[in-house]
Amino acid sequence: MSLDAKIPAGPIDKKWTNHKNNIKLVNPANKRSIDIIVVGTGLAGGSAAASLAEMGYNVKAFCFQDSPRRAHSIAAQGGINAAKNYQNDGDSTYRLFYDTVKGGDYRSREANVYRLAEVSASIIDQCVAQGVPFAREYGGMLDNRSFGGVQVSRTFYAKGQTGQQLLLGAYSAMSRQIGKGKITMYNRHEMMDLVKVDGKARGIIARNLITGEIERHSAHAVVIASGGYGNVFFLSTNAMGSNTSAAWKVHKKGAYFANPCYTQIHPTCIPVSGDHQSKLTLMSESLRNDGRIWVPKKKEDAEAIRAGKLKPTQLAEEDRDYYLERRYPAFGNLVPRDVASRAAKERCDAGFGVNATGEAVYLDFASAIQRYGKEQALVHGHDSNDKALVTKLGKEVIKSKYGNLFQMYEKIVDQNPYETPMMIYPAVHYTMGGIWVDYNLMTTIPGCYAAGEANFSDHGANRLGASALMQGLADGYFVLPYTIGDYLADDIRTGEISTDLPEFEAAEKEVKDRLAFFINNKGTKSVDYFHKRLGKVMWNKVGMARNAKGLSEAIVEIREIRDEFWKDVRVPGELNEFNQELEKASRLADFLELGELFAMDALQRNESCGGHFREESVETSGEQEGEAKRDDANFAFVAAWEYTGNIAESKMHKEELKFENIELKQRSYK
């Protein structure tokens, strides 16, 4: 099958409008006889389910949590980008488009990114109309802040809980449709497989997680909005239940999987404290607006700090190395995430780390507290030289901006970040790779769509901060509702799809057999034992810095772990009951396959781009010495993998990326 991205003709700023004008429509009466399944209820799935139901389609929505409101979009902290230019600082649709393509290190599809920038402003309007309480200024207008990789303030926020507020907005819209019976909500249900009839996506097999019952659900189209696969690393900022199973099952049924190696390692997370750790916690990128990142200049100071003999607050200004400000004066602490993460790793590897394991750097708010405190003292007519008062006022400002994040930090680390700098270290956070989709967000399976983090489309090799929320909502509110109609217009005479078809029966049997295998296996090791092993291989050899030798080893090791898992995993309990170990086993089986493809993709991409850093591909001279080196001549393509029955023999297809509106050049943040 050849890859056709179906990008509309015409100038980039007219593509979406023209496309919408020429797309096929389904009339309201016919929408009532069409069913759509949406898997996942985060920002993409939730907004898609609500919008499609409002339009009149019958929506069946699935989530594994006990309520759609708990999808992991809820944990997004910092904000959502939109090209509103409320700050009059030169922002525009073009600039958001440009920043996103550049931030993604020129590995995303221009037309998709432009559309994303184009609809971004409508997202804010829509959310405000729904009652999302964004932060406001005293005049009653919406407030903005700045995020990494850009030089404007275009990020809308609700303290450090923006994802929560946006998701609750989408959940509210869903609730309204659930109340009307237009959405049938299946909580605590997991998609176990996709069902194809005559080559088209026509339904799913799902497991009721409470009763263990295996259910058949049919529809005229299936939307996969099940998020990313960061948990292949075991430790990540993803929720414990976040998994790749829906996406992976679709891949195995014929959807190409694009750029699996593009992973975002977020620079500001709370460092690992020990082997018991089950997940990592993000400290929002918004903190880099006010926090300054540093390590000691002298190794002996770093050693003294690690030994607990020296406190960071005792270190004089001239003994600190604000390495991001030093290396990247133009963007300073607000360089993109991939750049900030590698810079932290470089300092820690060189021996300047500041916690017991040597894998942490400081994020310091002392100067921001003074700056804000002085401003507040002046505004309120107090003495701006009164140090105690200035510090107190400054802390209040910081608290109003980041209060919940500081509280989270204090609970986990048991240190007060208002008094002593935070310790942070990079952690797996987001996956830019995902199911390949065309301009209409359709996968290579007709009738099967992918939205949000589950698809690969908009972020290239690195996602900018506050763009995940934007993409999820753009896909669900403003893209899918149009593009899905173009496909469904041909289905108005199809009628209800029967779940008695042999395709459903076969898919159900396969699912039942696999689950029964786990229960009957009676091995000796728990699911987590294998997951942790997989995670270690991924982090050490397919993590922040990758090389051909490590990747080749990782591929072999992952296969070994997978073989052992199938032979020796122990899943207690029964099939027909609430069984959390069975859920985990089923998800890990998919991660163990994805991990191999992930490493294969990283091995094939012999260049450094965005979050994918190959040690073999580095600038060796000039101003950019030591920075990642992209290879546009050989790698300006999307790697879309086709499943052939055996991961090792997956076939790579190339979608060449054409840059007609932005000149390809080295990303410089210096």
């Binding site: 006990d66 409101r69 944990a75 406001r136 507020q165 989270m408 609970k411 728990s526």
Partner: protein
């Protein structure tokens, strides 16, 4: 540290359930409470026993999935935290810890420590929204200025994570704090005012249908709420309800 855990075990909704005792050892103070339960479960699996079922997901205090009544308190000792944000440094060596599910008629037990909280979703379905369809043509977000004080109050109410700690804590198993948080958020914003009357009537009606108790102003819900949702919201909901009842048709 070494601890003794007394945990509620219940196979399913029909089962009667009972407390069982489990020792755990080598627990570090840096572990979260849920990571301590991970250790117990790993131990149970290795011993060929059934692990304890408990709800959890984000493990950073925002999804509202984790619950647990620990030593008689929702989300355990400590204020403004969820169970996943409770760390074992809050306990000491030799402690006995009692762990139970949320107890409320409207939250039937699914298994062990897992309960069914879908009643809260149904309250939301009854009116926890602004009736606005998705449209690329809504008015510009800055057309209606919202006073910062109102926006901030609405935000504070909107931070509810729907965990159900208020219900589990309340001696009447009332869901007033939960319901009032959504009613308040939307009543405080111009976008939500239009339907404020219908919203409060419908949501309160659904709350009663679900079998939640009434509010007797004990205030325990506010104390145990992981997000510090204020009792003022209940007062605001009562005002809204009264005004809707008097002026409504």
């Amino acid at each position: 540290m070494n601890l003794t855990l007394k945990i509620w075990r219940q196979k399913n909704k029909q089962d009667k359930g009972r407390m069982e005792t489990y020792p755990v050892s080598n627990i570090s103070g840096d572990m979260s409470f849920l990571e301590m339960l991970d250790v117990l479960n790993e131990q149970l699996i290795n011993d060929g026993k059934e692990p304890v079922a408990f709800d959890h997901d984000c493990r950073e205090g925002i999804c509202g999935m984790c619950s647990l009544f620990i030593n008689g308190e929702a989300h355990g000792p400590g204020r403004e935290i969820t169970t996943c944000q409770l760390h074992m440094r809050s306990f000491k060596d030799g402690d006995t810890i009692h762990i139970e599910p949320w107890r409320a008629a409207a939250f039937p037990v699914v298994k062990d420590l897992v309960t069914d909280r879908s009643a809260l979703d149904r309250i939301m379905n009854a009116g926890g929204f602004v009736s606005v369809n998705t449209s690329g043509n809504t008015i510009d977000a800055n057309t209606i200025p919202v006073p910062k004080a109102d926006a901030d109050k609405a935000f504070d109410a909107a931070t509810c994570i729907g965990c159900g700690a208020c219900v589990a804590t309340c001696k009447n198993a009332s869901a007033m704090l939960f319901t009032s948080a959504k009613v308040s958020q939307l009543a405080l914003l111009p976008q939500g005012k239009v339907e404020a009357h219908d919203r409060v009537l419908n949501m309160v009606h659904q709350m009663d249908l679900e079998g939640f108790g009434n509010c007797t102003n004990t205030g325990a819900c506010e104390v145990e709420c992981p997000k510090g949702i204020s009792l003022e919201n209940i007062a605001r909901m009562n005002r809204e309800y009264l005004s809707a009842s008097v002026t409504g048709e």
